[in-house]
Symmetry: none
Subunit: 416 residues, 2 copies
């Protein structure tokens, strides 16, 4: 069953206010198994609201219209709706009674009473948190819900008074599974996934994030399969993808990399420190992002030039001269040094040319990351040149992801 959302309000199209109602409705409708088609955001004028409603009615069975139900002159949604569907407005004594209760008698004015006019045939859904009730109206092949624009009222009305209605309408609750990837680009991942020849009933989509990709799996909505069958298809695909791309997946759904790392560090009672050059404190910042990070994070030395690397990280001048500060040798020595200085179980180090200029004879985008753990170094050379900020963040993703993979291993065998 198809749905559409019309959000009204000049503050929305002018960008003064973020329209969070539509996303709330869309997410809930999706979870209930509806297929939401469009979100139309328009201003307060009757004509633009009318146009949006008519368009929504063409493409969807169920239409949710939000905002413009208040008592002032710029609240035109009911007028626009009545005109669009060629309905009269009629006076609702039920609403009047409710308004009288809210305002006592003293403050009730003509503006307030205008809220008692509703399109004929509309069912009033009482709003315990505001003066504007929600309305429901069936018309030919469409069913319309008119909801107030105040997010807290809308959420309350939807959850308490509408969702049970919708559950009985929805035929196919569908499952969506998400997998979160690091270290593989959207295009490359999509090409590899295509080669897996997954069940053709599946719909796979990709969303690029900040140096990561989210892959979504769901069964095509046209599919006639049962809920149980769909569930099986999605889970089978998820398992196949997890197995195939284990070295690129850090989590599912809304899991964050920092949270995954935190969990293991605490469980295994591991302490971590960093020695940073081009990441300039970003590794430390990300490792201290979550509350309770002092349980596993000890500290960092950001050594932004050679002299400081010598002085604080105790690297020898001759060594740095021989290999250069942007080298596998240097970054490994930095990690070992950090582990010694902080007496940590794990140390993470970075050295590279973040850009835009070359640095220490390495061109922009050449970056090294090293992890020292259980007496061994794992080192990664990264070559990306998206610009300074993006390069640095990308390297921090690789660093934390590789750290995660290392500590998530069941056996303590780095060579496995």
């Amino acid at each position: 069953m198809k749905t559409a959302i019309v959000a009204t309000g000049s503050e929305l199209i002018r960008g003064f206010v973020q329209d969070i109602n539509s996303r709330f409705l869309a997410r809930n409708l999706t979870e209930l198994g509806f297929e939401n088609q469009n979100i139309f955001i328009c201003g307060d004028q009757k004509e633009t609201i009318k146009e949006s409603i008519l368009r929504a009615a063409k493409i969807a069975d169920l239409i949710f219209i939000t905002g413009g139900l208040g008592p002032t002159k710029d609240d035109q949604t009911k007028n626009a709706f009545a005109e669009a569907l060629d309905l009269e407005l009629e006076y609702s004594t039920k609403i009047e009674k409710n308004l009288t209760k809210i305002f006592k008698s003293s403050n009730l004015n003509q503006n307030n009473l205008s809220q008692a006019y509703i399109p004929q045939g509309a069912k009033v859904i009482n709003n315990n948190f505001g003066t504007a009730p929600a309305l429901k109206l069936k018309n030919k092949n469409n069913c319309f819900y008119l909801l107030p624009g105040v997010p807290s009222e809308l959420k309350y009305l939807f959850r308490e008074k509408i969702i049970s209605d919708l559950k009985s309408l929805s035929q196919n609750k569908f499952l969506v599974k998400e997998l979160n990837f690091i270290g593989i680009g959207e295009a490359n991942l999509a090409a590899k996934v295509e080669n897996l020849a997954l069940n053709p009933a599946l719909e796979i989509s990709y969303q690029a994030g900040q140096a990561e990709v989210k892959l979504r799996i769901k069964v095509n909505s046209a599919s006639q399969k049962s809920f149980k069958q769909k569930n099986e298809i999605v889970n089978k695909a998820r398992n196949k993808l997890k197995k195939e791309f284990s070295c690129f997946i850090y989590g599912e759904d809304n899991e964050s990399l920092e949270a995954k790392i935190k969990k293991i560090l605490i469980k295994k009672k591991l302490k971590v420190a960093t020695a940073e050059s081009f990441t300039g404190g970003l590794l430390a910042k990300r490792l201290t992002k979550l509350p309770g990070s002092s349980e596993y994070f000890l500290g960092s030395i950001v050594a932004y030039n050679q002299e400081i690397k010598e002085k604080l990280l105790k690297l020898k001048q001759s060594f740095l001269k021989k290999y250069g500060v942007v080298s596998q040798e240097c970054v490994e020595a930095m990690a070992v040094s950090a582990a010694n200085i902080f007496s940590s179980d794990l140390a993470l180090a970075s050295s590279g040319a973040a850009g835009p200029a070359a640095h220490a004879d390495q061109k922009a985008g050449i970056m090294f990351i090293s992890i020292f753990y259980q007496g061994q170094s794992k080192t990664f050379k990264i070559e990306k040149n998206y610009g300074r900020a993006a390069n640095t963040f990308y390297a921090s993703q690789i660093a934390l992801f590789e750290l995660y993979k290392l500590i998530a291993q069941k056996r303590n065998d780095l060579n496995a």
Copy 2:
């Protein structure tokens, strides 16, 4: 001049992701003097994108289309756009060249190269933060901008590469002035500005950012005054505000705090280091944000527990026990220590309870920042409790802003 926005992405109409791009665009277009008409949010299918584009073209002069420019099969925006306007797609060697630069040769596959096809006549706007460039195309009475859906890329492209174009189209030319505030809230600032009784022809608006507020000054669009008169009114107000709020303003228009600091540090040949506790590397990260930061930034010691403060920052156990690690005394000693260890002209230190839990007998949101410069300490106690991430960022704003004010002083007199 009328504008419309088409946001594409099945993740948006399904409510998995909040569409923040449209609001960003709408807000900026409004501020530039355009009249935004509608925001159409549609899925990834070619037909629905095409329909939305055609509808937008009917109601607006300028149309912004976001998302669906990536390399995978669900990226259909360019195809839909070409069909809607009856254009052919042609291969852009400019884009191919750029992709080759990003991917080196090894990882470049057919999916990536699909990004090189663009509607004929489109102008390529290079994207330094991702693989999908923006496109601009004039067609009959409309002008279209196609922008990538990743918010950071969209914002970057809009601010750096498109806004100057738009300023010349907008009737409200050049008359918007912005002042950037730190350390004063939006409501408080607005109340104080009202008391100044500025010229009634002015329209003052506020935009809350991340621990800062942008104040915008423009002449009401209904005003019949000449360009010169408007310019004078705006400049007079700007000067009055700058004088009145000098201790809260760090810059104008698109100036960043980091860039302001960089300029002075380089000019005065000053070197800076940090000693960080609850900021966990954020001060270092922000001081290394810009290219060339090695000219003035030496390094940082992130000391996330008492033992590390003793060992690396050479603070005495008895001292820390006496005053506590979250105290004015401790943070001052940390800054002095950092200046000694790094032999820097300036040192910045942080110690506090970022939250959500209390720390070292101080409740969440009690934070100290100290700056050591020319033999003297300037220390700030901050009490805010917006949540861990916001607290930390807010403290870093205060730290960098106070550092800026200190080094921007003409005379070397801290007591002035």
